[in-house]
Amino acid sequence: MTDAPNRPRSLTELFIAFTVLALQGFGGVLPVVQREIVERRRWMTHDEFIEEWAVAQTMPGPNVCNLSLVIGSRFFGLRGAAVALLGLLLVPALVVLTLGSIYSHYSDHPRVAGALRGMAAVAAGMIVATGIKLAATLRKHPLPLAVTLSLAALGVIGLVVLRVPMLAALLVLGGTGCVLTWHRLKP
């Protein structure tokens, strides 16, 4: 693996870079991270990006936040991780809270309330679609499709119909998935 040609010169540059890319990310920041950090600024190669992304996705926590922590820490250690995460969150949080406050003043207006109801319905559909898109990757899973789909279906029934706490679902169904996969993978 070759190292990327560039690196951020200062913590300030790191902060500004993450603030700028976060503010471009409507409905998902990951594509913008890839474009800015890998293609434009060349702080990472494609290979490095994919490898870090795999870990960021596997670990608990918001994926893009996890990714920013790894990228920041790789250049400036713990300080870099904190600065990258702050860059990603601080200014966008102010924007979101401002929008939320403006909205709460107009929420009694039927057209505004209707508009947000429509957006909420779209957002719900988007989250389901993300799950369906991910389900396509189960075809390459070491376990048979019938097993993985059954685990996923049991999860939906448990969470939606039976309303079990997510921790229980994670331990029982997630744990089952991990153990079965472990047995299936050749050492």
């Binding site: 670990m59 939320g100 957006m119 988007m126 679902a169 993978l185």
Partner: protein
């Protein structure tokens, strides 16, 4: 009582142990958020809306919709929920406290784990245990996302009157699944249909 409080649909009182409970709950959520924080929305809903009644259903859904429509990481819906819990408790100071409690709670454990794992996982990425965890969690991560979407989409309750909302959710899911259209166009379309009074 200020005018701001009157315009809120919910008035709650939070004692210090409630804030602590909220913080601890988000610490746990942080550890459960494999597949992203949005995948734990079902758990937040169970806790904030059903169990404690600290947020109304509408506030819960609006927080997610606004954060999706705004720039920045989607996890900021957590900040907006914390903000709304604080406003329901009666002041802007409480709202700021709500943001800090929920966001720090949702990010701290996962961030520490991430930094530890990034080093360790990089050195041991071929290990059977690492691969088993990564792939074994996949079915449940998918179930968590689908459940979140269903709970948000079905929160309207009355199918006889709210069927157009369900139709929009299903249509949006199909379009996003099948095309690469930018999400903003769909959010704008949803907003337009709603503003016209069709939803």
């Amino acid at each position: 009582m200020s005018a701001d409080v009157v315009s809120q649909p919910l008035q709650i009182a939070l004692a210090w142990h409630d804030w602590l409970d909220l913080f601890v709950h988000y610490l746990v959520i942080s550890l459960m958020s494999v597949g992203g924080t949005i995948a734990t929305t079902a758990e937040m809903h169970r806790y904030l809306v059903e169990q404690h009644g600290w947020l109304t259903q509408t506030q819960f859904n609006d927080s997610i919709a606004i954060a999706q429509a705004a720039p920045g990481p989607n996890v900021l819906f957590v900040a907006l929920m914390g903000w709304n819990v604080g406003l329901n408790a009666g002041s802007y100071a409480a709202a700021v406290l709500g943001v800090v409690v929920t966001m720090v709670g949702a990010l701290l454990p996962s961030s520490v784990l991430m930094l530890l794992a990034a080093n360790w996982g990089h050195r041991n990425r071929e290990l059977r245990l690492v691969r088993a965890f990564k792939q074994g969690m996949a079915p449940l991560v998918i179930a968590m996302l689908v459940s979140t979407g269903i709970i948000l989409g079905s929160a309207n309750g009355n199918f006889a009157t709210d069927w157009p909302l369900y139709a929009v959710s299903v249509a949006a899911a199909l379009v996003i699944w099948r095309t690469r259209i930018h999400l903003l166009w769909l959010l704008a379309a949803g907003a337009l249909l709603g503003a016209l009074g069709w939803l």
